[in-house]
Amino acid sequence: MEKTESDWSIEALYRGAWQIVKHNPVLWLFGMAAAIAGSGYNFRFPDVDPQGWQKIFEDAYQQGGNDAVLGNATSALFESVSQLFAHVPVWLYVAIGIELLIFLAITIVLALIYSNWANASLLSGIQLAMQKKPVSIADSSERALSKIIPLLQTTFVPSLLLSVIMLVVIGMLAMGIAISPSGLKAIFILFLIVWIAVLIVAWFLLSLTLIWASREVVVHNKKPREALGHGYHLAKKKFWSMLLLGFVNNIVTTMAIAIPVGLMIGALVGGFFAFSSYKSLGISLFVFGGTLLFLFLLAGWVIAGVITAFKAAVWSLALEAIKDL
């Protein structure tokens, strides 16, 4: 039977995904891990920001000239403290610098591994659920451990390449705009606009490709290059259907979060305004809003995990419907 454009129905995908997620709480854990790990891609190293500390010291040093009250006192204190640290052997500062660099590298590597392990475990768990097998942390994680490196190659390398190409071309065009005579500037600006449009399409295509490619690596054991090729082929064929599904996913998940958050904020703000005129109504609204806030803080990450697992299950079911295309 020839596959048609509408190889999946959003309603069927959502119903199937909900059944999978509802009956397998282990998937919520991997969803939470994936959701939390998502922030790891910021490559932040919390608590240590060498430029921030430098700025703080520079600001503190300059504050003596700007602050009308503290005046020279602050700079005198800063000088005394600086003199104390000036007696520390230089090799200790070099050692601190090396250790900070090592920590930064380790943090980035661990964040990447954790994120890819969480995603691979989630996809493996969903696959087990789709095959009506029991889903456990042990089984899902065991399958995922061997997929971390291939998944990293599949997701990280193309994104890094595209980012580098984007920055290099934008840099060259920006330089062209800056140094070219006014007659040629318009051409560079036109190229820049076209390049930005091309980049937007490229990023979209890459994101859609990676949705399929990651599943091909984890579920169908394909090599990264093969998975990317097949993922790209599917993404091109199902471009508009995928955009629609992604759009609906975002609307639904936004509503799932926005409605309770909106109720909570509405109750708290309403309680604040009602308190002066109608104390009992104000207190009731505060209690209601406060309870919602408390539950949200307690269960916020669990909700994020459920939503992440649900969205992943939707895409996995979609791939199952079109994998032979």
């Binding site: 854990l29 009250v69 005046g71 006192a73 640290f85 200790l92 050692a95 250790e99 065991e142 990450w301």
Partner: protein, 208 residues
């Protein structure tokens, strides 16, 4: 071969031993800082402390390294426990590193529920054990040694902290720091006096 897995309480005992050993290292260093005679010396030793302990990657991975070479962290070894795979054999370095870094992170989600799952799991596995298929087994019944060492570490830590507090209140460092603070305070007062507008200039001429 019958493998005897460690209960939650034995694992907790091992964890407490580990925690107090690490705490002892920090307190030792801080006592050494407070024993210096000048602020300048103390600052140098403080920076050395930062290099040796909080920022030292070896300290963060010591439990993974010890587990690979000896079967468990110091606390586990003192309590007679070891980390093995589900067949009782040693784990690979990659799996141990994963367990001791990212596995712990996974167990810490949802208020550390992953650690408490040992209480109800039939194999007494925490979530970080399940991720790599490890077990914490009792290779020798040494829980008494673990208890004695824990009590000893608690007493030693308490004694060292009390000594550090005593040193902080009586050492020459305190006088030097107080002198620095007094200098800073008097500079502040002088600045405030210089910035204040003289009284004669603030009163209008007709009232003078």
């Amino acid at each position: 071969m019958q493998i005897s897995t460690a209960s939650f309480w034995l694992r907790l005992l091992a964890f407490l031993n580990d925690s107090f050993i690490i705490m002892m290292l920090h307190v030792l260093f801080l006592s050494f800082i407070l024993s210096r005679q000048t602020l300048s010396d103390a600052t140098s030793v403080f920076v050395l402390y930062i290099v040796a302990l909080p920022l030292n990657p070896l300290l963060y991975f010591q439990s993974a390294i010890l587990t690979y070479y000896f079967g468990g962290s110091l606390g586990k070894l003192l309590t007679g426990l070891a980390v093995t795979n589900e067949d009782g054999k040693p784990l690979s370095l990659k799996r141990i590193f994963f367990r001791q870094t990212l596995g712990y992170r996974f167990s810490t989600m949802v208020f550390g529920l992953g650690y408490f799952s040992v209480l109800t799991d039939p194999k007494r596995q925490a979530w970080h054990d399940k991720t790599i298929g490890s077990l914490v087994v009792v290779y020798r019944p040494m829980w008494i040694v673990g208890m004695i060492s824990l009590i000893a570490f608690v007493i030693l830590n308490g004694y060292m902290i009390a000594g550090a507090v005593r040193m902080a209140t009586t050492s020459p460092l305190k006088d030097e720091a107080m002198g620095l603070f007094a200098e800073y305070q008097s500079s502040m007062e002088q600045d405030a006096r210089e910035k204040r507008v003289p009284l004669e200039e603030s009163v209008p001429e007709e009232l003078n």
